[in-house]
């Protein structure tokens, strides 16, 4: 039998039973749709986090208190043992390979005249900070200088949320705001950065390290930010700073993270997530495949007489096998194609609202999988049909 005749035959059988064919393909549609959509969400999440991380600068290295993945103090609270002197020490020893800035951060209430802005994160750091953390581009004014920092000047660079809540419409430069009980003069405005995981990145104020230390009265630092001069220096700076810190601290007291190492943590987490999501979706495709097998078996039984007749009229075993196999494959491929269109559509809509990146391998995988489902689950019914004896089949009522 010619291939075009076989294809026509398969389509006729499928169209001849529209509702049943639709319900059968529905399983495949849902399976493929779910694979594409869930994998897109997983990948989208990953690229979203990566882009957030890389916005800080790829040469970034930071020291944070406590050991990530290591022993914690009871209750999960990390005792902060990082001191200002540690930061100073690193700064002095790594002068030739990295810029170092200590950071202390504290949540505070900020006031301007009668307006109040709550939960503002006040960062105290050095004048080198904008050279290290690349996502703090100023749209107005300037960052404080090391001279201002040393002299203990009470100046502030404010985030966009602080600006809109307190000073919207005014030129912020030169305005005096209250952080806690202290008065600061605004010298710069950071451009809008948006939020990461629901945390507003614009509800911040950056003040000179000395002023912050004096105001909050703390001797610890919350983090030490470093930026290697060149990307090749990143591993060196990391190992050197670890070595230097271990002279005074233990391994449980701090963690040195690079942008790359935090990226790899995120990547491994989101990869697991993507695989898990894709795996769950693949199970639903498998169930869809079983649906195809089920319907094909019913179809073979229903058409036993037809099969007998076809054989009597000269159909070979192979002709019957191909006829039923092709029917199953067309059902699942059609389902796969519709599922891909729906999956792509849904991924694009989700991309507008949240994050989702369509990966072509997931589309190919889903499509290949649906073709395979058609072949694998169509094979048993097709073999069964092809093996029917013509006399038995013709006698079948």
């Amino acid at each position: 039998m010619k291939t075009e005749d076989l294809i026509k035959l398969a389509f006729r059988a499928i169209i001849g039973n529209k509702l049943r064919s639709f319900l059968t393909t529905l399983g495949i549609i849902i399976g493929v749709f779910a694979i594409i959509m869930l994998v897109s969400i997983g990948t989208g999440l990953q690229s979203y986090i990566s882009s957030q991380l890389s916005s800080f600068g790829s040469n970034l290295i930071f020291v944070i208190p406590g050991r990530i993945g290591g022993a914690r103090t009871p209750g999960g609270v990390v005792a902060n043992k990082l001191l200002v002197s540690d930061a100073k020490n690193l700064q002095a020893k790594l002068k030739s390979s990295a810029t170092v800035a200590p950071v202390i951060s504290q949540s505070s209430i900020v006031k301007y005249k009668n307006k109040t802005n709550k939960n503002t994160t006040v960062f105290g750091t050095t004048a080198d900070y904008p050279d290290i953390v690349k996502n703090s581009t100023l749209t107005k004014g300037s960052f404080f200088t090391s001279g201002q920092e040393r002299s203990g000047a009470k100046v502030a660079v404010i985030g966009y949320t602080v600006y809109t809540n307190l000073l919207d419409g005014f030129d912020p430069i030169g305005k005096i705001i209250n952080i806690g009980n202290n008065r600061y003069a605004i010298i710069g405005l950071i451009g809008k950065r948006g939020s990461t995981f629901g945390v507003d990145q614009d509800n911040v104020i950056i003040v000179p390290f000395g002023a912050a230390r004096q105001q909050f009265g703390i001797t610890n630092v919350n983090a030490i930010y470093m930026s290697a001069f060149r990307s090749e220096l990143v591993p060196f700076v990391k190992s050197q700073s670890e070595k230097l810190l271990l002279k005074r601290l233990t391994e449980d007291d701090f963690t040195v993270q690079t942008a790359e190492s935090s990226l790899s943590i995120v990547t491994s987490i989101t990869n697991v997530l993507t695989i898990a999501l894709g795996g769950i979706a693949a199970i639903s495709l498998l169930v869809g495949g079983i649906g195809v097998a089920n319907i094909m078996l019913v179809s073979v039984t229903e058409r036993t007489r037809e099969i007998g007749l076809r054989k009597a009229l000269g159909a070979r075993r192979n002709d019957i096998l191909k006829q039923f196999l092709l029917e199953a494959v067309i059902l699942s491929v059609t389902g796969g194609a519709i599922g891909i269109l729906l999956g792509l559509g849904a991924s694009m809509i989700i991309a507008l609202l949240l994050f989702s990146t369509v990966t072509w391998w997931s589309v190919l995988l889903a499509f290949g999988f649906s073709v395979m489902v058609g072949i694998v689950f169509g094979m048993a019914p097709a073999i069964r049909a092809s093996k029917l004896s013509p006399i038995e089949a013709l006698r079948y009522e």
Binding site: K311, A312, A315, R317, N318, I391, L394
Partner: protein
């Protein structure tokens, strides 16, 4: 007639069926020869083994023992594909219950054997239309079987049997489901086909039908009488 070519030669054909370890011999050594352009009937009561004989003659079933030469070829040595090929090209089946595909039109039903012969769409359609017209079915070409009378359905089935221009027409109780008038029409068509050179074999239990053929083979309890 004896000078004609042997087209079917059976010698000592037996067929046993085994159900639950009980062997039932349906055919017990049947031998006969059918020549080209024969018009033959095989008769017998139900249970005489004539259906089994018809299945063996039509290459739908294989004998348990004995030798069957079809067109000079030993059927025992044919592969399953050879058998399918021979059924397709050399034998035209006409069944008691017509066996038309219910979802297909008359034209599509007639075309069916040609699709398995790999004949192109245009050629087979023209051929099918010609056969349908010759059997006065030109107005029934695009109707489905359930819109046709029994006589019309059987004529569609005959057109289908003729499609690949086979040497043999094998008809199993062709008038069994028809009224006498339609039955007579079908018999006239079969007689006519024989006149045009086809070998026609009719399996029937009706004496009236058997009388209309040139030769009758009688079967009782799996043996010729």
């Amino acid at each position: 007639m004896k000078s004609k070519k042997e087209i079917i030669k059976l010698s000592k054909i037996t067929k046993d069926y085994v159900t639950d370890d009980i062997v039932t011999s349906v055919l017990k050594g049947v031998s006969f020869t059918i020549y080209e352009q024969d018009f033959i009937s095989i008769t017998g009561r139900s249970g005489s083994g004539k259906s089994t004989l018809m299945n063996i003659l039509g290459l739908l079933d294989v004998p348990t023992s004995g030798e069957y030469l079809f067109n000079g070829l030993n059927v025992k040595k044919m592969t399953e594909n050879d058998l399918a090929y021979t059924r397709n090209r050399d034998i035209g089946f006409v069944f008691q219950s017509f066996n038309l595909l219910p979802r297909a039109t008359s034209l599509e039903n007639v075309i069916l054997p040609a699709t398995y012969a790999g004949i192109g769409a245009k050629e087979r359609e023209e051929k099918a239309m010609a056969y349908l017209s010759s059997l006065e079915l030109e107005n029934e070409m695009y109707k489905r079987p359930n819109k046709l009378s029994g006589g019309q359905q059987q004529r569609v089935a005959i057109a289908r049997a003729l499609m690949n221009d086979p040497k043999i027409i094998l008809a199993d109780e062709p008038t069994g489901n028809l009224d006498s008038k339609s039955g007579a029409v079908v018999m006239d068509i079969l007689k006519n086909l024989n006149k045009k050179g086809k070998t026609v074999i009719i399996i029937t239990h009706e004496e009236d039908i058997a009388k209309q053929t040139k030769r009758t083979i009688k079967l009782a309890d799996g043996e010729l009488i």
